[in-house]
């Protein structure tokens, strides 16, 4: 007997989960961008990049956790569709890259004294990766067969 996913049968579950998802990733990506902008010399200039990332470290991680868990629940409502959706696959690949980059190279760049050009390059890569995740997410509905 097939077991119905209760999230798929409720009309409000999906949009409510989406709000959690958006709030979570906006917090995580935006906070990460505050550090990226500081690496580019913009924003909280009286603080060092390392100070900013330490101050918001737990809020960034919290946003990421909320986004990932709400995302898993959203995924569970139609796994076959997501699995065969190329925009979703690109999004997940970019997400894996962005998170790895964030907790390795970007973190070390924030804590060390590096040249302006290195800091700028790291900040740009970080922002491009996160924006790709957002674009991948938005385009899931665009490339979904039968909707366009």
């Amino acid at each position: 007997m097939a077991i119905e996913n209760p999230l798929g049968t409720s009309p409000t579950a999906f949009p409510v989960l989406e709000c959690f998802h958006i709030a979570g990733f906006a917090l995580a990506i935006g906070m990460s961008t505050l550090v990226d902008l500081r690496l580019l010399g913009v924003g909280l200039k009286k603080q060092s990049p390392g100070q900013i990332s330490r101050a918001f470290e737990w809020w960034t991680l919290g946003g990421l956790v909320v986004a990932v868990f709400s995302g898993l629940l959203l995924f569970s409502t139609d796994p076959d569709m997501y699995y065969s959706n190329w925009s979703f696959l690109i999004k997940i690949a970019c997400l894996a890259l962005a998170v790895t980059f964030h907790y390795t190279i970007r973190r070390r760049t924030g804590l060390r004294d590096v040249s302006r050009s290195t800091a700028g390059l790291v900040a740009c890569i970080s922002m491009v990766l996160w924006i790709s995740v957002i674009f991948g997410g938005i385009f899931i509905a665009v490339v979904r067969p039968g909707l366009t």
Partner: protein, 170 residues
Amino acid sequence: MLVSLLIWLENLAPFSSLRSSAYAYPIVLALHVSAISLFGALIVASDLRLLGWAYADCPISEIINQLRWPKRLAFILAATFGFLLFACKGEEYYYNPFFRTKILLFLLIAIHAVAFRRSIYSDPAKLDHSLKPPAQARLAGSLSLLLWLAVLCAGRGIGYIVGRPGMHYH
């Protein structure tokens, strides 16, 4: 009157082509969401400082003053993309209950800004003397968080109301 203005707006060449384009519209939407992420983090960062939940070792005024212009610019960025999305479906949005809610929330946010302008935002240096943020600052920060979170949810809701037939799209 207002509706006929919106119908005129949505049928201007750039907006009607944006509406019917398969890729330009979602690109503007993704840019809107990206700008929201930045703006949201700036809002949360200053509200967390007002609440004393982040950067407690750094004076309130230092954070509020440094984030004032970035917040304004990020808002203009998000609002510009938002306006593009609205302008190409203005008539539909006019009847959309979530869009109306969002406009109402923006009104409340304007009231919030005016109400706390003198006590908090225009001269945050006077909040720096006490160790714990004053009650007024914590109230301003928590209300701001709640209002912007509500705007986010209302914004997501807009896309769930499908335009009814009879829209004057050309």
